[in-house]
Symmetry: C2
């Protein structure tokens, strides 16, 4: 069986934890359980270093391609430029039409909406971006109280830290609950917000 690929798409001004939270979950899974048949890669338009929203600089591992089974689009201030980049929107429409699952975290949903992928679909986004998302596509059935929304070939997450919860859900969906529990245990994800 050919290995399946999850691509986490990095762009200038992506929000660090939107991408690196799911990365930690998914890379922990795929490294420890190679027999599950999945790999995860940090992809971008080129392999040049990308500066994230808070200033961290990450070097992408691969150039984004159409040969991908799951694409994750993080949010961040940079999403407002990416949502007007026809090459990225075409890529997302293409991979979805090819059968990939297209996923967003936080304001990454703006990019999916701009590509027309959220038309008449349930979705969520960063709590401070609900109006902005409605302005892109008023047909979206906005789920303002959910941590993530799984609508089959489209999955959207709420803001920033929600990507961790959503990525664990993806492991549950792609492999199974016991595997997702093992990954949760590995990253010692027993959150106790102190404030």
């Amino acid at each position: 069986m050919a290995e399946k690929t999850i691509g986490i798409y990095l762009f200038e001004g992506f929000e660090e934890l939107d991408a690196l939270g799911p990365w930690e979950v998914l890379a922990s899974w795929t490294q420890q359980y190679p027999d599950d048949g999945w790999r995860v890669r940090l992809v971008a338009d080129t392999t040049s270093p990308v500066q994230a929203a808070k200033g961290a600089v990450i070097v992408p591992q691969e150039i984004r391609s159409g040969d991908v089974d799951v694409v994750i689009v993080p949010g961040g201030d940079g999403a407002r430029a990416v949502m007007h980049d026809p090459k990225v929107l075409d890529w997302l429409r293409h991979v979805k039409e090819s059968g990939a699952v297209v996923v967003s975290v936080c304001t990454g949903a703006l990019v999916l909406a701009s590509a027309g992928l959220l038309r008449n679909r349930p979705a969520t986004t960063y709590f401070a971006a609900f109006d902005e998302l409605r302005a892109v596509d008023n047909s979206i059935d906005l789920r303002t109280d959910e941590r993530w929304v799984d609508d089959g070939d489209i999955v959207t997450g709420a803001g920033i830290s929600a990507g961790i919860d959503m990525a664990l859900h993806l492991v549950d969906r792609l492999v199974g609950t016991e595997r997702a529990r093992e990954v949760r245990r590995h990253i010692q994800y027993d959150p106790e917000p102190p404030v």
Copy 2:
């Protein structure tokens, strides 16, 4: 008042979320509230790109220096090499003697212990590394049930995702509870582990 600096120390094989979880919390805080007088930087031995434990490559922002008020040492497989690097151990001892708070996440505690900084102190680490930490320094008062342990000039966190909780605690300690709540809200940290 001079700006104070938090350095998050990157090394080959650091665990991505150990560093980038606190980074998201602390950079969200310092970017939004510059008048609080703090900055946070990703530091390393050189400014060459650093490959993390799961394969992500990060470009450090600055070379580590003694002029720092808080140092955060992440864990990851690479911590087992760093704990035997006398230059890093000397640096940590030096910054602590200069009045800095020295912080670890996950197996970063092995590095602090190897530097002698945890002698007769309460501390925690990754749940799978308790015995390894005891083997480095048997005098440590290991708190195996705590998400983080604040012992004044030494703060230690549990595994991987615990760095997020611990970083919010640091904001609470360094500024106040209301500020930490604002940062928590900004990163939409209302965790709902799905499994």
